[in-house]
Amino acid sequence: MSVAVRLEENALCPDKELKALLAQAAGDGAVVCFTGLARPGSKAGEAVCRLILEHHPVLTLRSLQEIAVEAATRFDLSHVHVVHRCGDIAAGEPIVFAGAAALHRRAAFKAADYLMDRLKTEALFWKREVGDAGSQWIEPTQADYADRERWD
């Protein structure tokens, strides 16, 4: 089992991350990856031009690592690959890459779903949307917490 986790201050290139994961997964039967993009609109329908993701110098990476390791253990993955942006992210840019490699597809699909449900609620960031309506802090929604609870 290998776990690769990175906090990325610069642009995230999903193609490169997938290529790296595939190179690790030569003996596996399945690779599933998810790329999240910074949405150009708020839940209220206002235009968002950028997201600001503040992070903690110690705890943010630790939170990503814990989630990745627990996914690898829970789904018996061969490899987990998580890269999360921090800092100033323009709308439309990739914000997160979560990939899982396993012997069989079901585990890889479930692991990618699990990774994202946990990252959406537990990754240690403080996120602001900046747009026409000014700057607004955002937190997980009830739906995000409900998605997370599916795995308890």
């Binding site: 999240g36 993701l53 503040e54 903690h56 110690v58 705890l59 999360h84 914000i95 997160v96 990252l119 959406k120 609620t121 537990e122 990754a123 240690l124 960031f125 403080w126 996120k127 802090w137 955002i138 937190e139 997980p140 995000d144």
Partner: protein, 78 residues
């Protein structure tokens, strides 16, 4: 003391405060909440966290003279 997210916006990223010996995290939190009413709800939020040294601590943690305490508002997730 260090603050992040909306707490840093309300209080500032850093603050030096003298507290009584043996004060708990909860004591400091309440002092801050009284001094910064606009940050009180976030400071008292059940998902807010406190970090001292290299670990998250509970409200009953007793501070020592050399501690730097960090107050973390509820996380946004990724």
């Amino acid at each position: 003391m260090l603050f992040y997210g909306r707490l840093a916006e309300a209080i500032g990223p850093e603050l030096e405060v003298v507290v009584s010996p043996g004060s708990s995290v909860a004591d400091v939190r309440e002092t801050l909440a009284a001094q910064h009413p606009d940050a009180a709800a976030v400071l008292r939020h059940k998902r807010s966290l406190s970090f001292v040294g290299d670990r998250l601590v509970r409200d009953d943690y007793r501070l020592v003279a050399t501690d730097t305490i960090e107050f973390l508002p509820p996380v946004s997730g990724g």
